[in-house]
Point group: C2
Chain length 389, copies 2
């Protein structure tokens, strides 16, 4: 692969609280995050806008979000498009913003992830979720995303001989961190040992293993790193950016417990950044299901196969641990506004790199990894963000 | 705006017939065009795939087309994402493929536009079309895309004092050209003077003014121009690439008869290519409605405002005219598979530039313009393709 042509940095970060924003339309919700990011970057207009959104067409009957949001944000006329990669739409939009700046096509790019999950125009919610799976071969048979998570978790437990309790450390950690994040949806703490009594969602996935659907928007502003130094006091460099795919339907994966898109995307991003996984100080992984977190740790090379769950059991994922995870609560506690999630993850890593993570600041963060998945690993978008010294 | 970092060329072109492909799923339809493009380019695998698709989520209940189609095309693991800009999704996907190669993020990029309009899982077709408009302020009041076309046409007739007959030359020309295109949906010729009796769709838009919905897929393969010369005998250079937006709802446009996104995108693309509009030898404009063609000719600077229709009346849009339009039938005769249309347009211009337009070859084509619109001008994607000598 050729070299990336221009180095890219992040100069603005914005986000709305994750929650039920009944009174805000998609465009209004996006605008809140955009305004915050513009203010943070001290800019008023950009050259290009990339909107990460997964289900706006089906849930809100609104397609064509690029032009709609560009206009509503007061940037009539700019380049704008929506990017979709299922639940990885936010990460994919960030990737497009990154290549737009890297290509010279834009000097200032705005990436916004936005999703409204809690109200909908269309009545058939479960039928809509079909679209996130291989609709003809999975969804049409009733295998919706939660069932995909259930199959993965059951397989993991079966192959590696662990029980439900093996996963609870991930959610306990996420909620402990989310409790300190004012933008998080679920700020309650989870008690270790309480998981056995949690309501079942898709056997063996319980309510404590799955991230909640929610509304939210997050935004980032990108520009060449060279220019970033002059624009803001604390630019963050996108040291690595990669997006890779795998088979969408589980039945087409040779080994469902191997997240090959994660392996590819993370190793490409690390290569580009010129670092190893041990050089990463903070991780925002895609914890839509606890089992996915274990699998991502393994695919990243932070744990041997079948051993990812042990990092939680050993307390290595806490803020002072070897691999701090979900430092703003992750999908599990912060909430999972599908197409916005990947932008939230990158925004959170960027805040850690800037030293602005408040009570949950990990000490001395040089760089962090944001890993956004769609279709339980069918798309993986990996971004390594690092301090500009 | 910064300079584009790498020059980009087209080395592969593929398309399916436009029609009713009841027996083919979205992925299968896309695969037909992809295979043809790969064969044309003599390559088997690419680094990145961009899928232009507008309504797959709503019509076929299938989101996340990037990973799905990458896998089905035998390119498991590559970077892939779907791009949406309403009816300009194909042009927007081409733009993403272009910046991916320009950025160095990909050395070989595949752009496929695919849409299935003629059958659907969801029962509420009219409600689905809402999503292409400003859903809350237009669609919810019943103002679907055809009604938007009707308002524009009525306004044009009122302001410029022309009648229905002023527009018929566009459709007569499109059908005359489409008759020779084996991939066109409607290969019948239209009789001049027959328009008064055409069935009304959305007053004053008749069946002869509006392009038919259809199924289809088209694909292009991009790589750096420098490499393209070694790979294929007739590479086509993307001399200009630009995407711009305007307000999606008509009521937010200061002057609905001015297509500002077209003005911006075309002038940027011309600037990048270092040419003037008179240097363009062939035009594939977005003739979803005849009035849109007149407005695009005016926004491109090929006619004064209110005079675009005269080009058709004067016979200047024929294959031997000053501004040959719709040389493969345009949306009107070739058919309009929404998110695929922009890729068909660019493929057709590329064939003209290669001298492979068969019976409809315009003589001595040095360069051509593909102009894809979404939301009646809310998004305009302009690509200038030229011969590599």
């Amino acid at each position: 692969m050729a070299q990336i042509m221009r180095d890219v940095g992040i100069i603005g970060i914005g986000q709305t609280p994750v929650g039920e924003h009944y009174e805000l339309s998609l465009r209004e919700l996006a605008l809140r995050a955009i305004r915050a990011a513009l203010q943070d970057a001290h800019v008023q207009r950009v050259d290009a806008l990339y909107v990460g959104n997964a289900l706006g067409g089906q849930l809100s009957r609104q397609e064509h979000l690029g032009a709609l949001i560009a206009d509503y944000a007061g940037m009539l006329g700019i380049e704008a498009a929506r990017v979709d990669a299922g639940e990885a739409s936010g990460g994919a939009a960030l990737r497009q913003g990154y290549i737009a700046v890297a290509s010279g096509g834009a000097d200032l790019a705005l990436v916004v992830g936005v999703e409204k999950m809690t109200d909908q125009t269309a009545p058939d919610r479960l039928d809509i979720e079909r679209g996130l799976t291989d609709s003809e071969f999975e969804g049409a048979q009733g295998m919706l995303p939660a069932a995909v998570g259930g199959l993965l978790m059951r397989r993991y437990m079966h192959v590696y001989g662990v029980d439900l309790a093996a996963f609870e450390g991930f959610s306990v950690n996420a909620h402990a961190n989310g409790a300190n994040n004012p933008n998080a949806l679920l700020r309650n703490r989870l008690k270790p040992g309480s998981f056995a009594g949690a309501p079942m969602v898709a056997d063996p996935v319980t309510l404590f293993d799955i991230a909640p659907d929610a509304d939210g928007a997050a935004a980032l502003i990108l520009c060449p790193t060279e220019a970033a130094r002059d624009l803001v006091p604390q630019p963050v460099r996108v040291a690595g950016s990669a997006l890779a795919t795998d088979a969408l339907p589980l039945h087409d994966r040779e080994d469902p417990l191997r997240l090959r898109a994660v392996e590819t995307a993370v190793s490409r991003a690390l290569d580009q950044a010129g670092v190893r996984i041990d050089d990463i100080d903070v991780f925002e992984l895609h914890d839509a299901f606890t089992v996915l977190t274990a699998l991502q740790l393994e695919a990243c090379g932070l744990a041997a196969r079948g051993e990812g769950w042990r990092l939680a059991a050993r307390g290595e994922i806490g803020l002072a641990g070897r691999a701090p995870l979900s430092t703003f609560g992750g999908l599990k506690s912060r909430g999972n506004p599908l197409g916005a999630t990947g932008v939230y993850q990158a925004a959170e890593v960027a805040l850690q790199v800037r030293g602005e993570a408040g009570l949950n600041q990990v000490s001395d963060v040089g760089r962090g990894l944001a890993l956004n998945l769609g279709g339980a690993g069918a798309t993986a978008a990996a971004h390594i963000l690092e301090r500009v010294d």
